[in-house]
């Protein structure tokens, strides 16, 4: 059976479920894949796919972005970042604009590339802007471990990492959010394993399925969720077995625990969540850019008319935001969900289904 025939069969299987259900994908890469492949339009109307707070760019608070912008203006700083942060608007500027004004900002593919830039520029201070969830955090932990071992003194980290399970806890415990099942992030789970979802599934009686990113993976993940629901079950399960092990990646987890400790973090749209961020343990504090450059915590200012908070929690669909496609487009984004490539609003805007055009 080829992929296409198999996909058709999976779709038919999904179409045979008649209950009204809301499933949430909590990974921005899922949001992108679902939008790009058109899955949302191909599943029947009784199966609603919501997009959750799984885009690390989108959930970075505006105050934190303002702090990054303040830092990159300091003389002698080279700020290294993943490409997606470049266009995210702070309260008055973005990294893209700062670069045009002369800030030295470099887009890298790997935190190890940032470390290499630090080695090559010993007279400059290289700061890595650490965003991302449990998948990306271990890669940054390795770069810190190397910086320490090689005594690279001009490298530091601005840690805006976020942890997924505490945010899921917030979503499940919010009575205004109806989520019947969770499409769990495949690559985060490759690190953290199944246990966090087992706890969530048991506590809130919601099925959770760790899912891969191919169209077939996502369809299979949806079926596994629907199947559990029809059986009245609420387990944590893995669709993405070729990559995700039940126990996760113990090497990555050990490294995260050795270098970081959880702390309260500010999420755009969700507010502060205890234990949902990662700060450097005291032995690694010398690599903390916020401490090194005495960066103040900058307050979040509300953005007028922007509903990113409601979008991130699945309370509204991007198209229900009053600014969507009017004041807020990928070219002139107001909120971060429109800026990030995998932000729910950008994905909805970019991959508008043919029947919803106007």
């Amino acid at each position: 059976m080829n992929d296409k025939t198999y996909m058709k069969e999976l779709l038919q299987e999904i179409q045979s479920y008649k209950q009204e259900v809301s499933l949430m994908e909590v990974c921005g890469t899922h949001t992108m894949a679902i939008a790009r492949s058109g899955i949302r339009e191909m599943v029947p109307a009784n199966i609603k796919l919501l997009s959750g707070p799984g885009c690390p760019v989108c959930v970075t608070s505006q105050g934190d972005i303002d702090a990054v912008i303040k830092l990159c203006r300091e003389p002698g700083i080279i700020l290294c970042t993943f490409g997606d942060m470049m266009r995210v608007p702070g309260s008055e500027s973005s990294l893209q604009e700062e670069r045009s004004r002369g800030a030295d900002i470099r887009v890298v593919y790997s935190p190890l590339d940032a470390l290499e830039i630090a080695r090559k520029n010993p007279e400059r201070e290289v700061v890595f802007l650490g965003i991302g969830f449990e998948t990306t955090a271990p890669t940054i932990a390795v770069s810190l471990e190397q910086a320490e071992r090689e005594r690279i003194n001009n490298f530091s980290l601005l840690s805006y990492h976020k942890l997924v399970p505490p945010a899921l806890e917030v979503i499940f415990s919010d009575p205004d959010i109806r989520v019947d099942g969770l499409i769990c992030p495949g690559h985060v789970s490759a690190v953290i394993g199944l246990k966090p979802y087992e706890l969530l599934a048991a506590k809130y009686h919601k099925p959770c399925v760790v899912t891969g990113f191919e169209t077939v993976d996502i369809l299979e993940g949806i079926i596994m969720l629907l199947h559990q629901m029809s059986q009245g079950e609420a387990r944590a399960d893995i669709q993405y077995r070729r990559v995700v092990r039940k126990e996760g990646n113990p090497v990555a987890v050990e490294l995260l625990e050795r270098i970081f400790q959880p702390e309260e973090a500010r999420w755009r749209g969700l507010g502060p969540i205890p234990g949902s961020g990662l700060k450097l343990r005291s032995a690694y504090e010398f690599l903390d850019a916020a401490k090194k450059f005495q960066l103040p915590q900058i307050a979040d200012l509300p953005i007028k008319g922007c509903s990113c908070g409601e979008v991130l929690t699945g309370k509204i669909s991007p198209r229900e935001c009053l600014l969507f496609g009017r004041g807020c487009t990928p070219l002139k984004p107001v909120g971060p969900c429109m800026v990030s490539h995998e932000g729910a609003c950008a994905a909805y805007y970019r991959y508008t289904p043919a029947k919803e055009r106007n």
Partner: protein, 77 residues
């Protein structure tokens, strides 16, 4: 939130570095997070790192998912 692609390990080098092939493109990545990886195995590549070893044999069960579901339906469950 985390892009990852499968890459095949071509060569294990020194200092936790390995050369991988991603659809004909070659790059050096860190295998610090998958110390047990062997040449010839596939890994999930994210941000210049092997995040996990890919084991297709574990996927077979999911590919049989439909058959299993059809069986349920035939049984009227």
């Amino acid at each position: 939130m985390c892009l990852g692609v499968p890459g095949k390990i071509l060569e294990i080098k020194e200092h936790d570095v390995a050369q991988v092939d991603v659809d004909g493109n070659q790059l050096d990545i860190s295998i610090r997070l998958t110390p047990e990886v062997q040449k010839g195995q596939f890994v999930l590549v994210h941000a210049g790192f092997a995040m996990e070893i890919i084991d297709e044999s574990r996927a077979v069960e999911t590919m049989d998912l439909l058959k299993e579901l059809q069986k349920y339906r035939e049984l009227g469950i």
